[in-house]
């Protein structure tokens, strides 16, 4: 859904805690198939459903 280096914003219910724009710095695929996008600025990991491309 998203690519490494892509710029995204964080969606509800996490918007208030992460109001900025972030870069995807790592993509982790778990054994169960879930994909976690690690964001810049120590924002942590997010499922794609909580991100929106800028």
């Amino acid at each position: 859904m998203f690519e490494l280096g892509q710029t995204v914003k964080v969606l509800y219910p996490f918007t208030e805690g992460f109001p900025d724009v972030y870069e995807i710095i790592e993509i982790v695929t778990h054994d169960d198939g879930q994909i976690v996008y690690i964001l810049s600025n120590d924002a942590g990991g997010f499922d794609g459903k909580y991100l929106e491309a800028i």
Partner: protein, 283 residues
């Protein structure tokens, strides 16, 4: 008669003596508290709740035994706590005795859709198991709300978004990351994470949990409403530590209180007392 003097304390019935032995829950760093709830050996490990909240009582599995209920103005009190520790640096710690009011759990560390909690609402549960007395202040300001990791979750970075309702009926969101809380027994105090915009409010209920990303391990995440009663420290390993009523504040044990232990972590690993001897007074 209410205990109001040292003489009355000495003349009060020397109540029960209860032994508590607990094993260490495991490594923990940078968390607020360690929970000994679902660890043995005395009392037995408490049950891990489901997503439907359970209002606990003195007869709940895992509760530290308490004297029989009393009728005011006679009350039960924690009179003294002796802690016997083993060798090693991990046996220097502080511990707290709480009245565990209610808890819910069973939430997954891998589900990223909103997970709903049912019944974790102080107001709707006030009539159960003497909760109306056990909560302390009527504005719910004595209640600590905790996130407790019953079974360890994964370390993949994830943000936890917790939907709460405050006592003024407004809604809010408390957020934290899973950094340092992956081990079973890890506890975070949510009261200190109330956002600035809701500063001064007290939590009434916890409604749901949403993870920003799977932590990769299902584990078991839950929430606890508790009232701290007293605390004590063991300063030196291999030494008996005694905290008497002067140190403990002679806390009253409400009828149907579910007494449990929490530890204050002092580093990367935690121990536990070889055993505690809790002496109560009734008067």
């Amino acid at each position: 008669m209410t205990i109001a003097s040292v003489d009355q304390l000495f003349s009060s019935s020397n109540g029960q003596i209860f032994f508590v032995t607990k094993n260490a829950p495991g490594a923990s760093t940078g968390i607020d508290l360690i929970s000994y709830w679902n660890i043995g050996t005395i009392p037995v490990a408490g049950a891990i709740p489901t997503a439907t909240a359970t209002v606990l009582s003195s007869s709940s599995q895992g509760a530290i035994p308490v004297p029989p209920p009393t009728t005011p103005p006679v009350y039960n009190y924690i009179r003294s706590v002796e802690a016997f520790t083993g060798s090693g640096g991990t046996n220097r710690f502080s511990m707290e005795i709480h009245d565990r009011l209610m808890h819910a759990g069973g939430l997954s560390g891998t589900v990223t859709t909103t997970q709903t909690i049912t019944g974790m609402d102080i107001v709707t549960q006030l009539g159960v198991n003497n909760l109306s007395e056990r909560i302390g202040a009527a504005d719910y300001s004595h209640i600590l709300w905790l996130l407790e990791i019953f079974t360890g979750i994964g370390a993949t970075a994830s943000t936890l978004s917790i939907s709460v309702t405050y006592t003024d009926s407004s809604s809010g969101t408390i957020t934290l990351t899973n950094t340092n809380i992956t081990s079973g027994g890890s506890v975070v105090v949510l009261n200190r994470l109330i956002p600035a915009v809701d500063s001064g409010k007290f939590i009434r209920s916890i409604n749901s949990l949403t993870l920003s990303a799977s932590t990769t391990i299902t584990g078991n995440i839950g929430f606890v409403a508790t009232v701290p009663l007293t605390s004590f420290s063991t300063l030196i390993s291999r030494k008996r530590s005694l905290a008497e009523w002067r140190d403990l504040g002679l806390p009253r044990i409400p009828n149907q209180a579910c007494l449990c232990l929490f530890g204050n972590p002092n580093g990367s690993t935690e121990g536990a007392p070889n055993y505690l001897r809790i002496r109560t007074a009734t008067g």
